[in-house]
């Protein structure tokens, strides 16, 4: 298992990287952490003529809290995301999801931009980006544009990234509710989840749910946000009956793929169980923890 030959490029700046992408067109492939592209190269599922190494673009490795958003540079590694105080304070859901990716050594290298560009339908960071309404900042030949994560992710490993373009940052709107949870089920620790659930909400003085954000991974070709369930939750007391009702409604709202290994009915039941667990976990976690 050795990669096919390629020409290696190591741009020192974003401008140089974009120029290389433009010069080499579809034959060029950018590499960041390489934790998904590396295996694809080794197995020759990907055979780019030119590999553009982004790892020197350290200006893209950054975590910055602005007034109404958390901005994460595309080259930010999962391990940093999982441990950065700014993330733990303003968006702990994102940190918890990052901490659950793959394994320890993988998280030291893998990047948030790479995870979004790769767009595995079971991956954690695309799910969080869709659930929390994040925006991607993309640079390319036509300048810089922004696109919502839900529009960026089009299908399995298919994204709105045109020739010559690079993701440079993700912007997560702030603030979000202080109740949150990420729950996932995989057959082996560290594997991609069969189903995953991310949610965040606030509770008003009477304990009623406000501004629920609910997203599911592994039940469609892209992570799904479920606005109809979010609306159903609005203003209801966060008690056992409500949670079970929302979980059942979630299971009814999705149409997961049916396969011999993972029947659709099984994924639907997993989704229902994980939504219940996510609410319970969000409600029982100590304030500020």
């Amino acid at each position: 298992m050795k990669p096919a030959p390629f020409t290696y490029h190591r741009p020192a700046s974003l401008a140089e990287a974009l120029a290389l992408l433009r010069t080499h067109g579809p034959a060029a492939k950018p590499i960041a952490g390489g934790q998904s592209l590396g295996p694809m190269l080794n197995m020759r599922l990907a055979r780019p003529g030119h590999l553009i190494d982004l790892n020197d673009l350290i200006e893209l490795d950054r975590v910055r809290v602005k007034e109404d958003m958390l901005e994460i540079g595309a080259l930010t590694r999962h391990h940093r995301l999982a441990n950065a105080p700014e993330v733990q304070r303003s968006l702990p859901l994102l940190g918890a999801a990052a901490a659950s990716i793959g394994h320890y050594a993988i998280r030291q290298r893998g990047t948030i931009g790479g995870s979004l560009a790769h767009a595995d339908p079971a991956a954690q960071l695309p799910l969080i980006a869709v659930t929390l309404g994040a925006t991607l900042v993309i640079s390319g030949p036509a300048g810089t544009r922004e696109v919502a994560a839900a529009d960026f992710l089009q299908s399995i490993m298919t994204v709105d990234l045109r020739d010559g373009e690079l993701i440079t940052a993700l912007r997560f709107p702030l603030p979000v509710g202080d109740r949150w949870a990420f729950e996932a089920f995989s057959r082996r620790h560290g594997d991609f989840a069969l189903v995953s659930v991310a949610l965040s909400f606030a509770r008003d003085a009477e304990g009623k749910i406000d501004a629920l954000r609910l997203g599911l991974g592994g039940v469609d070709t892209v992570p799904l946000r479920l606005p109809e369930i979010e609306a159903r939750a609005q203003g209801r007391l966060a008690d056992e009956d409500t949670i079970r009702d929302l979980a059942a409604a979630t299971a009814a709202a999705i149409a997961p793929e049916d396969s011999e290994q993972v029947p659709a009915v099984y994924r639907r039941e997993l989704a229902e169980t994980l939504v219940i667990r996510a609410f319970q976990s969000a409600l029982t976690r100590e304030e500020g923890a």
Partner: protein
């Protein structure tokens, strides 16, 4: 679009504190360059797609899969392999604990585990068994059943903290 060139690259690599000049194709994996060109065969090659953890080395002090890294990417970075940890007559605390607790049998996975935890115990000197298991999940071992590896890591951590164990 220009035609690709596949001429070998001349690289200057810093491995275990020493500089090595090698001439290798761009597509040559760090794991293969360490083993074939530098003779550092402690880095083992198992699955070659990042799953088994046997090829784990440190890049700038952080664990990484050498099989998912090209040697060409390592110019300007410091690579550390298992050869930098302990010697047969002076094992590291972790190696000694693995020996005492029977944390290895065939030894194929051991270098990756040693490299990973030499770093992890610096980051988290007092881990719980659960935290050790979570990190260890990135290294496949088909001999031990993992129990003795967990025991060895906890023992080494206690000793490195200066506690009797």
């Amino acid at each position: 679009m220009t035609a690709p060139t596949h001429d070998p690259l001349t690289l200057s690599l810093s491995v275990n504190g020493e500089t090595h000049d090698v001439r290798v194709p761009a597509r040559k994996l760090l794991s293969d360059v360490l083993r074939d060109d530098l003779g550092l065969t402690g880095t083992h090659v198992g699955c070659e797609h990042g799953v088994c953890g046997a090829c784990t080395v440190l890049i700038d002090g952080r664990p990484a899969r050498a099989c998912l890294t090209f040697a060409a990417q390592m110019e300007g970075h410091e690579v550390t392999t298992v050869e930098a940890t302990g010697r047969p007559d002076a094992l590291s605390a972790l190696q000694q604990a693995l020996h005492e607790e029977h944390g290895l049998q065939c030894g194929f996975c051991t270098p990756g585990i040693v490299v990973t935890f030499e770093h992890y115990l610096r980051e988290n000197p007092d881990p719980t068994a659960e935290e050790v298991r979570d990190v260890l999940s990135g290294n496949l071992c088909r001999c031990t059943g993992y129990q003795n590896i967990v025991a060895a890591v906890l023992k080494a951590a206690a000793r490195m903290r200066g506690e009797a164990a």
